[in-house]
């Protein structure tokens, strides 16, 4: 079952669909429509929920928890991108390479949990 491939394509379904099992999750971010211009999270909550569900020890997860995880993941992406960029800067390059990321993971303690997971 190529869930990952299907999820990468996918159409723009705005709502989380429990019935479909989270496979046809929306690739676009769920932007709250009530407040104009206020986007609380860009990552689709359905995808994050699918990741949370993947943990066999998790029984239930509240909506707020999913939201915070999504937001935290965004902060994480920003953080690791910036740290990796520091390495690229030292090499006077303008394109972030995979090795910059590897260096950042090795250099920064907080990223230790990533070691060996990206290969």
């Amino acid at each position: 079952m190529a869930a990952a491939a299907a999820a990468a394509a996918g159409s723009g379904t705005p709502r989380e669909e429990e019935a479909s099992g989270g496979e046809a999750a929306a690739p676009q971010a769920q932007a709250p429509t009530s407040a104009p211009g206020a986007r609380l999270s860009r990552l689709p909550l359905a995808r994050v929920k699918a990741l949370v569900k993947a943990d066999p020890d998790v029984t239930l997860a509240g909506q707020e928890a999913i939201f915070i995880l999504a937001r935290a993941a965004e902060l994480f992406v920003e953080t690791i991108a910036k740290d990796a960029y520091c390495c690229a800067q030292q090499g006077k390059r303008k394109t972030l390479q995979r090795r910059d990321l590897d260096n950042a993971i090795e250099a920064v303690d907080e990223f230790a949990f990533l070691e060996g997971t990206l290969d």
Binding site: R42, T59, L60, R71, I80, T95, T117
Partner: protein
């Protein structure tokens, strides 16, 4: 076919956008680096979930809540995330409250009007409201099938 949790990737377009906004103008990112960051983000969510779940279990709760996730961030040494996450949570709660009040208000308005007059209109609104109600019913707990 066994599916590794790491295969659950977050959408590339969104990841790319977040990266580009975090970096100065003119900086690019190779495809390999971007896909590695995407995978790292997935691993991050899985790790955070596991940590948060430990806190929930310590509190003898079966449902992961927001404070479990915040505690997990501290545990994972991402204390710097805690403040912005708390702000985001406040904004999210306000928004959820606003949505609920808006749909309740809509219901009130609908009840006031006569049925025969608003039959067609209310049918459309009903679908929308029902969807929202469903969401709200699941507001507290999301069922996670094991």
């Amino acid at each position: 076919m066994a599916e590794r949790p790491e295969d659950l990737n977050l959408p590339n377009a969104v990841i790319t956008r977040i990266i580009k906004e975090a970096l100065p103008d003119g900086v690019n990112i190779s495809k390999e680096a971007r896909s590695a960051i995407s995978r790292a983000a997935s691993v991050f969510v899985l790790y955070a979930t596991s940590c948060a779940n430990n806190f929930a279990m310590k509190g003898k709760r079966k449902t992961l809540n927001a404070s479990d996730v915040l505690s997990a961030m501290e545990e994972m040494e991402f204390q710097r995330f805690v403040a912005p996450l708390k702000e985001a949570l406040e904004a999210y709660r306000r928004e959820q409250k606003g949505k609920k009040e808006a749909s309740e208000q809509k219901k009130k308005d609908r009840d006031k009007k006569t049925d025969s007059e608003e039959q067609d209109k209310s049918r459309e609104d009903e679908d929308e409201d029902e969807e929202r109600l469903d969401e709200e019913e699941q507001n507290e707990e999301e069922e996670v099938d094991n």
